[in-house]
């Protein structure tokens, strides 16, 4: 039992930090650029992706012994796409306001490389419980980076945190200006690049040293 706990813990740490999908595997960059202008969308996207990755990994892992290997990617995509569409339909029926906020992001989860990446590299070779934990871990790892990037972009680009103004009025009067670059996609590129560098090179933070 204890060994099992340690085992899950290891998968979690690996997904969230050691092999973080954005900062280490450099996957899911597209959506990381698109949804990180504001923190609120980044958080909701993180939650949605975590749920989809976890359940698609679970389903694919439980079918892994029966999926013919030459059509496995199509099958994986079919599972992921169905899951995303059903989630979208449920959101539209019961949480209409949230589904409106997310708009196209929910559909875009299908194309997120992290979901397919985890299905392909982990779920196909590991039992369902492990795959589920791995999906959750990678989802959290992705959300973590997304929220960090969104925090910096929203603060510097719009002077807000979660939609609330945080730049004091006297600074604006003295000529403080928001950084327009941060609102645009290139701003996210710079920040993600910096985070990847920090993650992999800074002493004490990088896992590659220990």
């Amino acid at each position: 039992m204890l060994a099992e706990k340690d085992h899950f813990k290891e998968i979690l740490i690996k997904g969230i930090w050691k092999e973080n999908p954005v900062a280490y595997q450099v996957l899911g960059i597209c959506s990381a650029l698109a949804v990180t202008v504001k923190m609120s969308t980044a958080i909701v996207m993180g939650i949605a992706l975590t749920i989809v990755t976890a359940f698609s990994s679970l389903i694919i892992s439980s079918m892994r012994k029966h999926i013919p290997s030459n059509i496995r990617i199509i099958v994986e995509l079919a599972v992921i796409a169905s899951l995303v569409i059903v989630t979208d339909q449920i959101l539209k029926a019961f949480l209409y306001d949230i589904s409106k906020q997310l708009s196209i992001f929910v559909g875009l989860i299908i194309t997120n490389c992290i979901v397919l990446g985890r299905a392909e590299s982990f779920a196909l070779a590991n039992p369902p419980a492990d795959s589920f934990v791995d999906g959750v871990a990678n989802g959290i790892g992705y959300s973590l980076i997304l929220v960090c990037v969104a925090f910096i972009r929203e603060l510097l680009g719009s002077g807000k945190i979660l939609g609330f103004n945080v730049i004091p009025g006297f600074l604006v009067d003295m000529g403080y200006q928001n950084m327009g670059l941060m609102v645009l996609a290139p701003g996210a590129f710079f920040i993600i690049g910096l985070l990847v560098w920090l993650k992999n090179n800074l002493p004490g933070v990088s896992h590659e040293e220990n």
Binding site: A34, H66, Y96
Partner: protein, 250 residues
């Protein structure tokens, strides 16, 4: 040969990678997936349609300022407000209200608030950068002053073009005119940049643009202009009536 294939041939009977199995598996997967999606889509359709209808009404109410966009309202409140204050009518291309539906008839909403203010709401249906933009543009009964704008559905880039549904963008429409100082129809458009940088005579016909969403602004401006041109007889009728009331008073 890989471990998996060995295991399959040895223990599981028929090879999972055989052609027959591949076809069987593909068919089965498609069947299950399509069943799942179809049942979700049809089973939840009524809920979704109800939500959409409420949302449409909410946006009509928001356009004419009957509902505060910051506050949350329950479905019941929205429906009550809607039936109490909004009337759906059809108008012919000459701007007259008609009872029977004819070709070329246009949909129009009339509103009357408790404080006596009234006016009309025009549905806006235009292309955006990625898809359709549907919204409502409300006017005061003078037939020229915009009293509000709201977006009901769109598929613009969130954070950029998607800002058309944000409050700061929509409230800028309030008080804008669709005619210029010479009383000529010019429509109301989205500026490239801030309105304060425009020449003075144009400022009443433009709202602040969204940075990073020039194209969305362009298409929305074009769409609004097109729709307003179509509805121009309605606005003219309202303007003339307003004139008549003024004359009578004098």
């Amino acid at each position: 040969m890989s471990e998996q294939t060995l295991e399959n041939q040895g223990l599981k009977g028929p090879d999972k990678n055989s052609r027959l199995n591949v076809i069987k598996f593909a068919l089965l997967t498609s069947l299950i997936c399509s069943l799942l999606i179809t049942s979700a889509a049809t089973g939840l359709k009524n809920f979704q349609l109800k939500n959409m209808e409420t949302d449409r009404k909410k946006n009509i109410l928001k356009a004419c300022d009957l509902l505060d966009s910051q506050k949350k309202a329950s479905k019941k409140q929205i429906n009550q407000l809607y039936t109490a204050n909004i009337k759906e009518v059809m108008v012919n291309p000459e701007g007259k209200i008609i009872k029977t539906h004819t070709d070329g008839a246009l949909k129009l909403f009339l509103y009357e608030k408790n404080d006596g203010k009234s006016g009309y709401i025009i549905p806006i249906n235009t292309r955006g950068l990625w898809g359709k933009i549907q919204g409502y543009l409300a006017f005061e009964n003078d037939g020229q002053t915009v009293s509000g704008f709201s977006v009901f559905s769109h598929s613009e880039t969130p954070g950029l073009g998607g800002e058309i549904e944000s409050t700061w963008f929509q409230k800028n429409f309030k008080g804008k005119k669709i005619i210029n100082s010479q009383n000529k129809f010019v429509s109301v458009g989205i500026a490239k940049g801030k309105v304060k940088n425009l020449p003075k005579e144009d400022r009443y016909n433009y709202v602040d643009g969204i940075s990073g969403a020039t194209l969305t602004g362009k298409y929305l401006s074009e769409g609004i202009k097109e729709t307003l041109t179509q509805y121009n007889p309605v606005s003219v009728t309202f303007r003339q009536k307003q004139l008549r009331i003024k004359e009578q008073k004098e």
